[in-house]
């Protein structure tokens, strides 16, 4: 049975980095002077899934972020992919700690109209705390499943597929529910021109919510020191095959 669904996707504005990440002078953040911003691949899949669920069942696909006004850019990106409304919980800083983020989302969700399903990415692409969705679920007393790579909604229940060490699992939860999803859940679409123009005109609803500072405070970021031995070039083209075979033999991997 299909009934209209109200889905909300929580996304985070993160820098789109290159191979080398530059840090600010105080080393507390990534130097984003030359960088654009994006939402992580997990979250892109979450947006895609929300749009697909609503395309099938009807309802609404919302997108929410906690951040400064610049984060509207990411909300509009999600809108251009097909989300139909956007909420920004105002935060003065770009990267609040996970407790503050969870508190803000929890508080906003209590104010906003109810959603059947709230989707998170498994972890943000920058801080990677991997916990906001679970904190929100705990606070709102909602069932939650992480690592989700498949979502099916059937009437008032949702079936969530994930990979576990023991194998592929399907979890079933009553709605409303929370899920943290993984890239691979789907192949996200690119925004259309029409979608972008619609997104540009859309009004982002801005809500205020308390964000008590949590107990995890960044002191500094640094680069992982990479032990860097010189690469041994075994050769060029097919002529390198014997040398490769020698290495494989030496490693003892040849069966």
């Amino acid at each position: 049975m299909v009934r209209p669904l109200d889905v909300l996707v929580c996304v985070k504005r993160v820098p789109a980095v290159g191979a080398e990440i530059l840090l600010t002078a105080d080393a507390r953040a990534i130097d984003t002077r030359h960088l654009g911003f994006t939402i992580g691949p997990h979250e892109e899949c979450a947006v895609e899934e929300a749009v697909r669920l609503v395309e099938r069942a009807g309802g609404t696909a919302g997108v929410l972020t906690v951040g400064p006004p610049e984060a509207d850019e990411q909300l509009r990106y999600a809108l251009s992919m097909g989300a139909d409304h956007a909420v920004r919980v105002h935060a003065p800083v770009a990267d609040p700690d996970p407790e503050a983020t969870a508190a803000a989302i929890t508080s906003a969700l209590r104010e906003l109209p109810p959603y059947d399903l709230v989707l998170f990415g498994e972890a943000s692409a920058d801080a990677g705390h991997a916990q906001v969705g679970f904190r929100v679920a705990c606070a709102l007393r909602r069932p939650v499943v992480g690592g989700v790579k498949g979502i099916e909604v059937d009437a008032d229940r949702v079936r969530l597929r994930r990979e576990a060490p023991e194998g592929a699992e399907v979890h079933e939860a009553p709605l409303p529910a929370v899920a943290a999803v993984l890239e691979g859940l789907n192949l996200p679409r690119y925004p259309t021109i029409r979608g972008r123009l619609r997104a540009k005109k859309a009004v982002v609803r801005v809500v205020e919510a308390p964000q008590p500072v949590g107990g995890l405070r960044t002191l500094r970021l640094r680069h992982r020191s990479e032990a860097h031995a010189e690469t041994i070039v075994l050769g060029r083209g097919a002529a390198a095959a014997p040398a490769v075979a020698d290495v494989l033999a030496e490693l003892g991997v040849v069966r």
């Binding site: 290159g18 499943v145 699992e169 960044t218 031995a229 690469t231 070039v233 075979a245």
Partner: protein
Amino acid sequence: MVLTVVERDGEGRLTAESAEVLAAARDLAEELGVPVAAVAVGETGDLPEDLAKQGVAQVHLLQHELLADGGPACTGEALAGLVADLRPTAVLAADSDRSTEAMAWAAARVGVPLATACTAIRPGSGDDEWEVTRERSGGILLEDAVLDAPIRFATLRPGAPSPSETAAADEVTVHVVVPELDAAVPRARLVDRQPRAAGMTLATAPVVVAGGRGVGSAEGYAVLEELAGLIGGAVGCSRVATNNGWRPHSDQVGLTGTRISPDLYVACGISGATQHWVGCMNARAILAINTDPEAPMVTRATWAVIGDVHEVLPAVVEELRRRSGR
């Protein structure tokens, strides 16, 4: 007390990741002059034996029918209840999906922060202020952070220094704890589980042969499969391959795919962008095959062959077959 959440594998034995966390917990507990206690879900099984080897003398076994699913809500509730009773100094767990999820729920329930993906945890000079080092941006960056809480929740990434030798515990005291789980605890029920097909998984394979843009097509992976078969490896791919539909996402190595640490990683036609590199950088050794001698994967590899995948791999396969007489 340093309370350590431990997990068991399909055979009921302590996982390697949990053993690593216990080692870290021992070091920490020694520095603090407090004991280490373990907490696990389920029946006693071989756990006391495994824990004894780790020098752990106390284990709390959470037992409740609602815990069978391994869902974060019930485990998290139970853990939070135990923490409320024991008031440990710190609660540590491996950085696995299951532990992290339960830790997140429990930390939320207790009302304390959780530091995930940590590579180090140190008591600070202040009362509550400890310091952690954790991975960010998929491990490209490290973050030094203050963990300011009366009870410090942290999950630890694998790959910490080899566990220090320790004296085995003479005896392991098992405390069975039946948490008070309200049936109304919101939870998802496990309704189906398809056991993993026999064979190697990408995450656990000792050798991974992965292909990227340079493989060129779905069909191009045949020679990778062949090599993997000869050297006992699994086949992986980069994000380009997934996006082009050449391989399923489950084969993807990288930040948003699988992060692996095989003994040997054979990177075929993979340039080594950050997104991919963080997925394979824990490999013990890397053999890169690439036309571009300046590609990041080549410059970071242990060994490299400069050339086209479809020239090099068939020759390697032929050479291996020749040597083995097959």
